[in-house]
Amino acid sequence: MSTSVSATSGTKSKSKSRLGFVDRLTNLPKLVKILLWVLLALFLYALPLLEPPLLSTPGTDFGGVLFTVTIYCLVALGLNIVVGYAGLLDLGYVGFYAIGAYTVAILTSFHANWPFLLAVPVAVVATMVSGVLLGAPTLRVRGDYLAIVTLGFGEIIRLAAVNTEWLGDARGISKIDRPPSIELFEIPHLFWEGGTPLLDPDDTTVFLEFGVLDQIPYYWLGLTVVILMLIADRLIKDSRVGRAWEATREDEDAAELMGVPTFRFKLLAFSTGAFVGGLAGALYASRQSFINPLSFLLLFSILFLAAVVVGGQGNRWGVLVGAFLVAYLPERFRDFSEFRVLVFGLALMVLAIFRPEGLLPPRRTLRAKQAGQELAAAEEGDHGEETRVRV
């Protein structure tokens, strides 16, 4: 749904029409809303089977691209807690992603033969612990220094992997375990012949086989985790913890004066973010079945951050849109081969200029902006009335 929102607002006249749309949605009766959510979820689950013509990626496996999108969504949700909610600029988030991936790789293939499902909890706990270890000394510094320290952290993790034989050095680790398959039934895909969808009996996905060729089951797994994470995110944002993060981000001293132990809450944000990042890394490692240090370059930290910032830091739907764009667009426009990164960079710059607060900023940012415009309008005189009525 978020995508359609941004589509309409893109063509029409900016924030006002979108606010109206969102308001109309939130005013629907509860039962209708739940039904809409369920329909949306069903549509998303079915998406790789439908292979809609414009959305599908001709050059690459659509299921694989969608899986990557869910991984980016997961990472964006986790990083959003750190950057968007708690206001801590983390430039080394890929480090947590790597720790999650490497823990699973070591436990299921390189040094032990654990099943994937047992390795994942260990991986996320290991990542959380690393988050606390990194945060405890560094979260005492503020602002730019934290960015530098985390930047270093991301690189240290990668370089440690490159130089440690126990971690597979530059050659990496292969044969990482997959989630257990339960092969129940086959689902046929659609294929589109000149606009009419037809069932394709030769092209099927087995429910639920996690293999090399068909990545759709991975996408389903990723999507499920994203949905669970969204629910958790909502619960935590609306709790005392969420309010403490918000206060800390806005004014750390004032938050302390209100009785918020800001250091503890920053550490909590850091380790919660690390948890999600580690989970994403674990899923990624399993899908790839092979990882090496090149999968965890600084570039990915920047891309993750780009997803959060482009989408609108602090708004969970915004960062999901951002993650979708960052992960999907380069795959969709593979035809442009080398130019796609250039085009992508240009698109980011255009966004930064025209929507610096992100595509879908939190309501708070919008409100502040509107109030500012209202003030300006009121100062101008007679236009003030009109603006106020609309708001």
Partner: protein, 239 residues
């Protein structure tokens, strides 16, 4: 004594911001620290609320040594500070700011809580009008009122006010000091840091003058307001 400060020293790096200051605040009174810019007033207040580390000396609240306590623990004991300038949460609405002020309270759904919100709205009717406004878009005076109201939401025994009159129009200054007196009469002890010495001395029961990190004079508000050297140095044409 509700608050006792003994031989307090605070440093910023090698610079001594406060040198060996001692004073007390009696329960139910308004005490004030006045002095010029950079005399150490704000530093003293931040040290009392726990935002600054102490180099030497002790701070006692109700006889209990709180020198080493972090700020969030002191709030629970009943020390609440309204910070200098725009110390509100700019992205939150007025109501959300007040809610944050009550963060340490567990009775946020109770009648007592609603009464306290009403109390803030009675003291500052402007806040009620602006309930849903984003705090960062309000005027300086309104933000100041919100900061005081927010500090009251924690139901403090001791309210620390850092320059509540800063940057306000003369009319508003009168009003704010009136409200501070009212808050005190409702039973909250107030420690007020001010540059506006005339108003502060008029309202305060006890007063201390800070100069370059040291207390140079102490007395009742009326005593100091009537003192010739204080008049010459701090009250100027105001009297």
């Amino acid at each position: 004594m509700l608050l006792e400060v003994e031989g307090l020293c605070v440093n910023y790096g090698h610079i001594e911001a406060i040198r060996d200051i001692s004073f007390g605040v009696e329960e139910g009174t308004i005490a004030t620290l006045i002095g010029a810019n950079g005399a150490g007033k704000t530093t003293t207040l931040k040290t009392l609320s726990g935002l600054r580390k102490v180099r030497a000396g002790t701070v006692k609240f109700e006889g209990k040594d709180i020198t080493a306590l972090p700020p969030y623990e002191r709030v629970k004991l009943g020390i609440s500070q309204s910070p200098e300038g725009r110390g509100i949460f700019p992205g939150m609405t007025v109501t959300e700011n007040l809610d944050m002020g009550a963060y340490v309270r567990t009775d946020r759904k109770s009648a007592a809580y609603r009464e306290d919100v009403e109390r803030v709205f009675t003291l500052f009717p402007r806040m009620e009008e602006r309930r849903t406004q984003v705090a960062g878009t309000m005027s300086g005076g309104e933000q100041q009122m919100l900061a005081i109201g927010r500090a009251l939401m924690a139901r403090p025994r001791l309210l620390l006010l850092d320059e509540p009159s800063m940057g306000l129009a003369p009319m508003l200054i009168q009003q704010i000091f009136g409200i501070i007196t009212e808050i005190n009469q409702q039973g909250t002890t107030v420690l007020l840091v001010e540059q506006n010495a005339a108003q502060a001395l008029k309202r305060a029961h006890t007063a201390h003058i800070l100069e370059t990190g040291e207390i140079v004079r102490s007395g009742t508000g009326a005593e100091l307001a009537g003192d010739d050297s204080v008049k010459a140095a701090y009250l100027g044409g105001d009297v």
